[in-house]
Amino acid sequence: MITTAPPAVETKKNYLTEKEGLMSWLLTSDHKRIAILYLIAVVAFFFIGGLFAVLIRLELATPAGDLVDSNTYNKFFTMHGIIMVLFFLIPSIPAILGNFVLPMMIGAKDLAFPKINLLSWYIYMVGGVFTLYVLLSGGVDTGWTFYTPFSSSYSNGYVIAAGLGIFINGFSAILTGLNFIVTVHRMRAPGLTWFRLPLFVWAHYATSMIQVLGTPVIAVTLFLLVLERGLHIGFFDPAYGGDPVLFQHMFWFYSHPAVYIMILPSMGVVTEIITTFCSKKPFGYTFIAFSSVAIAVFGFLVWGHHLFVSSQSVYAGMVFSVLSYIVAIPSAIKVFNWTATMYKGSVRLETPMLYAIGFIGLFTVGGLTGLFLASLGMNVHLTDTYFVIAHFHYVMVGGAIMGFMGGIHYWWPKMFGVMYSQVWSKVAAIIIFMGFNLTFFPQFLLGYMGMPRRYHVYPAEFQVLNVLSSAGASILGVGYMVAFVYLVWSLKFGEKAGPNPWGATTLEWQTSSPPISENFEVTPVVTQEAYTYTSEEVVHVV
């Protein structure tokens, strides 16, 4: 694929060392440095959100509410949801890995609007500060879904501050998406046609479409909610003549596609990892590429499956149900194509590949259980139970976070020029996989038995499964901690990684590790399709 692969010149400074001092980071417009800024902030939010998860699982280890009172518990799961969904999952892969890798993958020096990129980080931080303020001043207890009229007229929490935090944060996602769209259209290296693009880029392009088209709707919805709560101007509360189901429509118009914001980039990461570690062109390139776009487009047509029991009309429910089944097909196509890519590949079970395989397994389960929830008759029984919790954690933790971890491990040598411990990283991957399944599989059973979500105390017959789940959560937590420790350790003590430790073919591996500030010594010219592996080109360094 590549014609210019300049050797890493040792004397040339890389993007990490070229400028020094805090201000050089805070005022940078280098997409790679902004990615690092995001990495630090997003991981911090991940651990805050994770702390709440730990507290939730601790409380649920016993049926009675003996650790905290109901009000506190409600704040725990609300903060867990808000932080994990809006401050971790949505920015995680696009803003960190996408920001870092996407311009390099298309042979560009930077994103189209570097200053807007930095601005989006600051907006994210301002949104984050609002959220932390909510957290420290007493929390919010509405659930991350903010359903009216509870949120607008009954909740005692800091709904307005939380709503503003999410509102502000939304613009960060919009700007990132806008930047990616323009970059992919305008900044590709010579010769890099659409069908030579790495599939990671396709996935991010589709993600950006959702961010740009969906996020404004949640912003205006929360804006109306804040008006209703703050000024008692009625929009959704029946007491003012409003329709609370309209809020749900507007909320899920964004928040269902938001699930695809979380999973599509992860799918892109997994595609990259699988092709690299099978040294093989992905099976069905065009199908994987177009399935990303199909998910983004059809993903906007299915939000009503969150409203089957909400007094939405039966006929609307039927339309949403059948559309939900149709949007499942592109995901199925991807899973089959990944599997087929491994066929007759040259499989190396390095750490990123372990995460990718874990992703395929967990995402398959997450996706298939989504089919249960798309079915009207089944949804009536299962919605708002732990089945839903298990389903979306299989998709978001088993899918999105596995992809994130895989991506971090895959591009870590590129980002920092160092390699982490191969042994510990594999151990951590296996611990995370086991812990995850132990945490969330019992929740499927709980859900079918009817345990509702957001329950602080629960009947005794649910305890055994809840204890299993809590045990799994502690294993999962250990897994993440181990990963955190050896990754940080590697920054200082890790072995130096070459420019292309995995023998990958995409453009970002054709420059030094860490890259120079301009990414490439010379703008690369692309003459081949993506993922063309030939025996000579692969440099196996590890």
Binding site: F150, S311, N379, T383
Partner: protein
């Protein structure tokens, strides 16, 4: 329910539970098949094609293994299987959405954080629901504050309970016993305390329970009392004094479709009556002026339900599909409570007073 400390599968205690479980079994089978298929293939490929030296495999020509055909196969088969899920689920949902016409009426009001339940015969209970086995039960539900959700896992059904409107849920219990009622829509601090119990009883036990209940009269009677107390009859008239001219007479309108002033039509159902009491000007019947004041704030949700039930008991015009002869048990159960209905004048052309009263009292 209570004595079991551990179980892996919920009780199945309603007529719908069997079909939901059947669909569940189908979905579990399909999911298990595909999960295992993918897992086995991935693990097998990972082992079989594990890299042994640094050579790179010859690229696989997608055409040689029928790439396009494979893509079509693995798109179409899952689509077919999932459309079965859709059709099956939709048919169950349709059944769940359409209560049988002769279902027994129970009224549910959700409130932070309790369930208030009123039986048509007048019995009232909190966080408990006593119902007879093998009878269709129809819940008409509303909320006084936030959104709740009435969920009985053993019946495999739930529906949101919203403020400002009525929602409906129905089931037919098929197993004696006690089952959980959960609030399944997050409703605030004590959300997880908003639970209750359904007691499915045999018919005689149920009648006995009903007889020991309160003597406040049936829902419709209490509704009629409110109707008179608020002076509604002064304008809307009654069955004897049918035409006062300024306001539509309410006898026999329930379930019919009326023409509105703005040229559209609406069906007279619980929601419409509710809206007309609270927002009388929203949908004015053709030929009348907007002279009715709002009763917002003057009626509680419970009271509103009673008035609505009273107007329903005035019944559809004769021959309307909703009037089904009551079953013998109902007659015995409601015989005594129908007497006060005699206070309401029961004449007038086109109205079958006894049937109307009993229809309402079912």
């Amino acid at each position: 329910m209570g004595e079991k400390s551990f179980q892996l599968f919920p009780d199945a205690a309603s007529s719908i539970a069997g079909s939901v479980d059947g669909l569940y079994a189908y979905m579990v089978l399909v999911s298990a098949f595909f999960s295992l298929l993918i897992a086995v293939l991935v693990v097998y490929f990972a082992i079989k094609y594990r890299r042994k030296d640094d050579s790179v495999p010859a690229p696989v020509d997608e055409h040689s293994i029928g790439g396009m055909i494979l893509e079509i196969v693995w798109s179409v088969i899952p689509l077919g299987l999932s459309l079965v899920m859709f059709a099956w689920g939709a048919s169950i949902f349709f059944t769940e959405s359409k209560p049988p016409a002769d279902a027994m009426e129970v009224f549910v009001t959700g409130k932070q954080w309790m369930w208030k339940i009123q039986h048509n015969e007048g019995a009232r209970e909190i966080n408990e629901l006593h119902i007879p086995i093998n009878r269709d039960i129809r819940l008409t539900m509303t909320s006084e504050d936030v959104i709740h959700d009435f969920y009985v896992p053993a019946f495999r059904t739930k529906a949101d309970v919203l403020p400002g409107r009525y929602t409906t849920e129905w089931f037919r219990p098929t197993q004696l016993g006690e089952y959980h009622i959960f609030c399944a829509e997050y409703c605030g601090t004590k959300h997880s305390g908003m639970i209750g119990t359904v007691y499915v009883m045999s018919e005689p036990d149920y009648n006995k329970w009903l007889a020991s209940g309160s003597g406040e009269g049936s829902m419709a009677e209490q509704g009629q009392a409110l109707f008179n107390q608020l002076g509604c009859g002064n304008c809307h008239g009654s069955s004897i004094n049918k035409n006062l001219g300024r306001c539509p007479n309410l006898v026999g309108i329930f379930g019919t479709t009326v023409d509105l002033k703005d040229g559209s039509r609406t069906r007279v159902d619980e929601s419409y009556i509710r809206e007309s009491i609270l927002y009388p000007q929203a949908k004015i019947v053709a030929g009348y002026d907007d002279i009715m004041p709002t009763f917002k704030g003057l009626l509680t949700e419970d009271g509103l339900l009673k008035v609505v039930e009273y107007i329903r008991s005035l019944g559809p015009k004769n021959g309307a599909p909703a009037s089904v002869p009551p079953s013998p048990t109902e007659t015995t159960a409601t015989e005594s409570t129908t007497q006060p209905m005699g206070n309401a004048p029961q004449a007038g052309p086109g109205t079958q007073p006894r049937t109307g009263a009993k229809t309402g009292n079912r």
